[in-house]
Amino acid sequence: MLDETPRFTAAVDRMVAHTQLSGWERVQMSRRLGRPGAMTFIKLICDSFMELHGDRLFGDDPAMVGGIGLIDGQAITFIGNRKGANLKENVRYNYGMSNPEGYRKALRLARQAERFSRPIVCFIDTPGAYPGIGSEERGIGEAIAQNLKAFSTLKTPILVFIIGEGGSGGALGIGVGDKLYMLEHAVYSVITPEGFASILLRDPSKAAEAAEAMKMTAHHLKEFSVIHDIVEEGSAEETAARIKAIIKRDLAVLCSKPPAHLVRYRIRKIRGIGEVSGIAKTWWKPLLEVFSKSGSLS
């Protein structure tokens, strides 16, 4: 468990001063209580924000926040994982772990955004989707799968910021977009280092070792070209200002592109990720042919 004593907090602050942090230190920083979350950034970035609730199917998931915000007159749909700023809020927001209704709310709002030509900004900060009985009964796998499929062909710009923990499929469920950014101390991985340690290293106490081996920091992901850039962190206000500047810069470019071009570029980018050899067919040719066949995407 993470120590939250003032001494520890002060120690973490000292660590921030160093640029070379270990993977495990960054994991701990990404999870640190009181780290600015999606709601903090939404409030700091938007001139006004209206939260919209519910998936219209089952209920409203408080661990996923969604709504419409205004930045200098530009309407943007915001979707984000919500963890809460203190322990009481953590419990209320299920530590940022969404049930299927959270992903279905995100999809409903994303489709709404597409229909009304609003760009989408997603803030990722979750250990993962909630592993519970109800979550499985209501199809958490299906809910995430539908989002991956829908977001990949959504005809509106999507910017994704990983602001804290990017945990597995639960993060990816709101993580498919045109441009991906990570805050300096955010992490993004296929499984938690604790999970990796207990399954692959067969020793749950080797989480720190796992965090290194998994290469899950912003710097690694930039090296892998999985993300476009790293956002330097400062105070919540300073970081928010940097995020806002990126949103304004990117949307100025992306909003002027024909939506079909956005989708083509987005899918080509997703398609290019992976390392294999002995491949018989070059990947872009069939992809372009499918695009030209599918009338709505050409």
Partner: protein, 257 residues
């Protein structure tokens, strides 16, 4: 050859369906056996059989592990894809092998599933994917997670061209495969008793601190909850797939004779 049934413990002789004659347990099928079961004899032509994985996050021991599994299984990775006919109709098929590193999805599985879906989209030929997987291949780090997005986006393109995708969920199908292409079929079939879910039972028990109910995450449970169209006996699988291919033709009213 007699085998010991892992479910009932009886020594049994299996035919090509590999169903225990004593208790009805479904033994796992390797891709070759599954393809022989659903494809017309001699019709299968493999695609991308030589594709092998790199070590994208330079994880110690991964290459040796791959080599060991390649030798043991005579497969290059956890999925085999190709073309075949089913009762005379063309289809693109992909069959996962749980025996190869738990059927985990890394760059090769993601790429091959994607190619199968894109070939289907290009040619308007139905795609059939038989799943068996523990989820994403952790040894490939973030690259394995990205294969979920990749396969799901290929499924989106297949949908754009109105080409059908049929999924056959076999035991077990969990994690990142469930949360991507496996749940995106126009029709989703499952083999009886197959475990199908996102989180593993031990993870859920650890989170909620209680034991899971009997039958949780089985095919029958998933059908009851609305995530599986039909549970199909292995002996009826070829006939069922043929029926689905003939009733999902594009741009014409289906008449099935």
């Amino acid at each position: 050859m007699a085998e010991l049934c892992t479910a009932c413990g009886h020594e049994v002789r299996l035919d090509h369906f590999k169903i225990c004659p004593s208790c009805g347990h479904y033994f796992p099928l390797n891709p070759g056996e599954r393809i022989a079961l659903i494809g017309d004899e001699g019709s299968f032509v493999e695609m991308e059989g030589t594709m092998v994985s790199a070590n994208p996050i330079s994880l110690a021991g991964y290459e040796e592990k791959l080599e060991e599994h390649r030798k043991k299984s005579a497969l290059n990775d956890a999925v085999t894809i190709g073309r075949c006919t089913i009762e005379g109709d063309r289809a693109i098929v992909g069959v996962m092998a749980f025996s190869f590193m738990g059927g985990s999805m890394g760059s090769v599985v993601g790429e091959k599933i994607t190619q199968a879906l894109l070939e289907g989209a290009l040619e308007g030929v139905p795609v059939i994917l038989c799943t068996a997987s523990g989820g994403a291949r952790m040894q490939e780090g973030i690259f394995s997670l990205m294969q979920m997005a990749k396969t799901a986006s290929a499924a989106a393109l297949l949908e754009e061209t109105a080409t059908p995708l049929f999924i056959v969920l076999t035991n077990p199908t969990t994690g990142g495969v469930t949360a991507s292409f496996a749940m995106l079929g126009d029709v989703i079939l499952a083999e009886p008793g197959a475990i199908i879910g996102f989180a593993g039972p031990r993870v859920i028990e650890g989170t909620i601190g209680q034991q899971l109910p009997e039958g949780f995450q089985r095919a029958e449970f998933q059908q009851e909850k609305g995530f599986v169209d039909a549970i199909v006996n292995r002996t009826d699988l070829k006939r069922t797939l043929s029926f689905l291919i003939r009733t999902h033709r594009r741009g014409e009213v289906s008449h099935v004779g």
